[in-house]
């Protein structure tokens, strides 16, 4: 089980801020494919990966990052702090 978090408009499209996902995905990319296959709202949120950023266990990561031992994955648009 991995906690999956969504922020900003990704959260709005998916409809929840957080969920627990039972997955065998070995990378973020596989997780994205798995979620996208589930329901239209995921497919829509993940339709353009280049517009998204991902954090793995609260560290900014690449989409090909492995998921072994990972507890938390978060998807969000490019950040706009400051």
């Amino acid at each position: 089980m991995i906690d999956v978090l969504y922020f900003a408009w990704v959260r709005e499209r998916i409809g929840v801020p957080k969920e627990s996902v039972d997955t065998q995905a070995t990378s973020v990319t596989e997780l994205v494919a798995e979620l996208s296959a589930r329901e239209e709202r995921y497919a829509m949120a993940f339709s353009d990966i280049s517009a998204l950023r991902v954090a793995v266990d609260q560290e900014l990561s690449e989409f090909d990052a492995p998921l072994q031992g990972v507890r938390e994955v978060a998807f969000f648009p490019p950040m706009t702090g400051g």
Binding site: L5, F7, A8, W9, A55, Q58, E59, L60, A74, F76, P77, P78, M79, T80, G81, G82
Partner: protein, 148 residues
């Protein structure tokens, strides 16, 4: 080396004064303050700042640690608010103290450049016409090139 992420407003004057007093032997103190600016259209009603609790503090501490590694700093401070803000309200501030003004300036600019596009904050603007997520700017991403 202090990082604070909070919903409540903070007193800019008190923070700057306290920071400068806390590092008297630094000689040079630089601060940056970010405020909610009204839109060109002039009809911004409020701005919601969303963040990623847990990761935000980690990301800011990491950015601050990197600044401390690169420049000779006596002290540094990052305060960033989240939640609902009105035009004119203070969103965040950074402060740096060093013996030399060049270090204090560069470290403050570095903190701001990284904070802009590497700390997990997202801004949503509420106007008469509806709501909109603020898009990241390509020049903010480009600004990071200066430090690599």
């Amino acid at each position: 080396m202090v990082v604070r992420v909070q919903e409540t407003a903070f007193d800019l004057g008190a923070e700057v004064k306290g920071f400068a007093e806390g590092c008297k032997n630094a000689g040079a103190v630089v601060t940056f303050t970010g405020l909610v600016r009204d839109l060109a259209s002039g009809n911004l009603d409020r701005m919601l700042i969303e963040h990623y609790p847990g990761m935000t503090e980690k990301a800011l501490s990491k950015i601050e640690a990197e600044a401390v590694k690169r420049w000779s700093l006596n002290e540094s401070l990052i305060i960033h608010r989240h939640g609902m803000l009105r035009p004119g309200e203070i969103i965040m501030m950074v402060a740096t103290a060093s013996k030399h003004r060049k270090d204090a300036f560069e470290a403050a600019e570095f903190l701001m450049d990284y904070l802009k596009s590497r700390a997990p904050f997202w801004k949503q603007e509420f106007t008469n016409d509806g709501t909109e997520w603020v898009e990241s700017k390509s020049e903010d991403e480009a600004a990071l090139g200066r430090w690599s």
